[in-house]
């Protein structure tokens, strides 16, 4: 249907454009941004306050880095031992081979042991114009901890000001906040289209759209997403699916797992990923000091498992999300050596099973080559659910 309407109107539908956005050096939005004199900053962790970067008058575009399309880790393996998670190694590989050459900077965090320890390799072996770290306390309890985080992002702003002579005013910060809040609301609308009995899009399409959101100026993306939402709403929806599945676990920006799940006839309708729903929930307050409002939102949004004391909230997030999307079961995925999600998945499963919510725990590499193994488990899980 989308292809037909594209033919009729002579232009590509928004859904198609977003689900097929070329990545990295081939991304037209990034290239255009740079051609117009803008700078591009990468980040991975959902604790990096993007609004702050985006608000800079010097034209700074934050893009969330992924490693989709990475085929080998042979160069990264020289630096990193095999007990470092494969996503981290894939990302460094792309850095080492120049795939991220378009980046002006990289804003890292200390959220996980594996990613934080690649800082030195990015600094010494890749070499970027701007590399810094935003460090995060391991608990959100107590004002002193928030103060540390606030100070960290002030330092980020100061470092950017020092390097690029760019310092966002409160008005510019507010504008940036408004763009990002709109982005979050639109993305929540996208999730809503998947929550009904006939989901309007597959989980794979949803992830591809989310990925486009990571890699486009949010203003441009918002407009395209708004159009895409209209196109999707007009679809009849997927009716003959086998089961409704939610996914959770380690960072995921590649559709391989969703593709396997959906190849069994199930449909992925929601998630608790930090690259998914956790990333878009929670608005930034539009009243009060904008700088502090940004810091609050990032510090206090549903936490990463590395935050001690946040388990109850994370569990509630999963439970509520599962309920809202009326899922039949949850598939937790972890990358080998990802301690945060390995233990978190076990803890959440333990509690969710007590509530009668079925879970399956899977492990697979970022460059998964073992589709058969995973599919057998997924299929058996669906059979266990009586689906």
């Amino acid at each position: 249907m989308d292809a037909e309407s594209a033919l009729a109107t002579g232009r590509v539908s928004a859904v198609e454009e977003l689900t097929n956005l070329p990545l990295r050096g081939d991304n037209p939005h990034i290239n255009e941004w740079k051609a117009n004199g803008g700078r591009v900053f990468g980040y991975v962790c959902s604790y990096v306050p993007e609004e702050l970067v985006y608000a800079q008058p010097a034209g700074m575009l934050p893009v969330r880095m992924g490693a989709v399309g990475c085929e080998t880790t042979e160069d990264a393996d020289v630096c990193l031992h095999k007990s470092i998670c494969s996503f981290t190694r894939c990302l460094l590989q792309l850095g080492l081979t120049g795939e991220y050459g378009f980046l002006d900077g990289f804003v890292m965090t200390d959220a996980c042991d594996q990613m934080r320890r690649t800082y030195e390799y990015w600094r010494d072996e890749v070499g970027l114009d701007f590399l810094t770290m935003v460090t995060i306390p391991h608990s959100t309890e107590g004002e002193e901890r928030f103060a540390w985080y606030l100070e960290e992002i002030r330092r980020l702003a100061e470092a950017m000001a020092e390097r690029y002579g760019s310092y966002a005013t409160d008005a510019q910060l507010r504008e940036s906040i408004a763009v990002y809040n709109r982005y979050r609301r639109l993305m929540l609308d996208l999730y809503a289209l998947r929550a009904g009995p006939a989901p309007k899009l597959s989980g794979a399409e949803a992830m591809r759209i989310a990925r486009a959101g990571f890699n486009m100026p949010k203003r441009v993306f918002n407009d395209r997403l708004e159009e895409a939402l209209k196109e999707l709403a007009a679809r009849p929806g997927i009716g003959d699916y086998r089961a409704r599945i939610m996914i959770g676990g380690s960072y995921l920006d590649d559709t391989f797992l969703i593709d396997i799940i959906e190849s069994t006839g199930a449909v992925v309708v929601t998630d608790s990923l930090c690259s998914g729903r956790k990333y878009i929930e929670t608005m930034v307050s539009e009243v009060g000091d904008p700088f502090e409002a940004i810091a609050r939102r990032y510090f206090e949004h549903t936490s990463c498992p590395r935050m001690i004391g946040g388990f109850e909230d994370r569990l509630e997030f999963t439970r509520r999300t599962a309920e809202q999307a009326n899922v039949d079961g949850i598939i937790f995925h972890r990358l080998p050596f990802c301690d945060n999600h390995a233990v978190e998945n076990t803890m959440e499963s333990h509690e969710l099973n007590k509530l009668g919510i079925a879970t399956l725990s899977l492990e697979s590499e970022y460059l998964a080559t073992d589709e058969g193994r995973i599919k057998t488990r997924v299929q058996a899980f669906l059979e266990k659910l009586g689906k």
């Binding site: 003959d240 086998r242 190849s263 069994t264 006839g265 080998p336 492990e363 073992d370 058969g372 193994r373 057998t376 488990r377 299929q379 058996a380 059979e383 266990k384 009586g386």
Partner: protein, 269 residues
């Protein structure tokens, strides 16, 4: 009415024919690298043995590695459900099935109706699988089928504690060099495998009766060691443990035929 089940694994392929509720014929052969070829050959073989033709099959279900690609099967079901189904047919008292396959080890729990209740599979590591025994057999220069009878003759099992298959082979070489008997080494290896299997069993729990399926079930030393480590009796089934997956598939074929009638392969799964 004839129903077929085909199970293509990484090391062997099996086919079962059933005439309504009765087991008619079964065949096991060494798998080829191509699952479709394996499935085709094993089905041809079992048909030939029973004097039947492909057209006589009312419904066929495939399982195992490559189960979705078998062109003559109308449906595919995971080997986890199939092992549960097959074992339950062979003995309705079975509640826990341990399937030690070539590359995977699974523990399957079924309920009183034979339906899948829970399951767990090993992670990527080969420890606790048929591949592990093959590696050891190779190091000892014996055929894998000789390992079981040999190990039963052992009196003092060598201690093998390493989690890694490569280190185990290293240990086996050391024991051989130290002059330990092959029987004792075989016994030790069987115990090591049982310990690994037991680790998986603990993840989902165990309920009597317990059976072992898959090729490794024919290794009497492994069965004995598993009973010892598990603290539960392992029941022997009235059918060849290696055909249980294919048997389950054939049983599913019958069920699906009753429910959906004959049909071509669905596009969905």
């Amino acid at each position: 009415m004839i129903f077929a089940g085909v199970d293509v694994g990484s090391m062997t392929a099996e086919a079962v024919l059933m005439d309504d509720g009765e087991l008619l014929a079964s065949t096991v052969l060494v798998a080829t690298p191509n699952p479709v070829t394996s499935a085709t050959i094993v089905l041809e073989r079992v048909l030939a043995e029973s004097g039947l033709r492909a057209q006589d099959i009312a419904y066929c279900v495939s399982t195992g590695y490559g189960r979705e690609r078998i062109p003559f099967a109308q449906h595919d079901i995971s080997e986890i459900s199939c092992h549960g189904k097959g074992a339950f047919w062979a003995d309705p008292g079975i509640r826990t099935i341990i399937d030690v396959g070539g590359q995977d080890c699974k523990v399957i729990r079924i309920d009183a109706s034979g339906d899948l209740k829970d399951f767990v599979m090993n992670d990527k590591c080969a420890a606790g699988t048929g591949r592990f025994l093959e590696g050891v057999a190779k190091t000892m220069a014996v055929h894998v089928s000789e390992l079981g009878p040999m190990a039963l003759e052992g009196v003092d099992p060598v201690p093998i504690t390493s989690i890694c298959t490569v280190f185990t082979q290293f240990d086996v070489m050391t024991f051989l060099a130290e002059g330990r008997t092959r029987e004792d080494i075989g016994y030790g290896v069987a115990e090591a495998l049982a310990v690994r299997v037991n680790r998986l069993v603990k993840r989902v729990g165990v309920e009597d009766r317990v059976c072992i399926t898959g090729g490794v079930a024919k290794n009497a030393a492994v069965v004995r060691a598993t009973e010892k480590v598990l603290g539960h009796q392992v029941c022997s089934l009235r059918v060849d443990p290696q055909i249980v997956g294919a048997l389950g598939a054939a049983l599913f074929a019958r069920e699906r035929y009753a429910k959906h009638g004959a049909q071509s392969r669905e596009t969905r799964s």
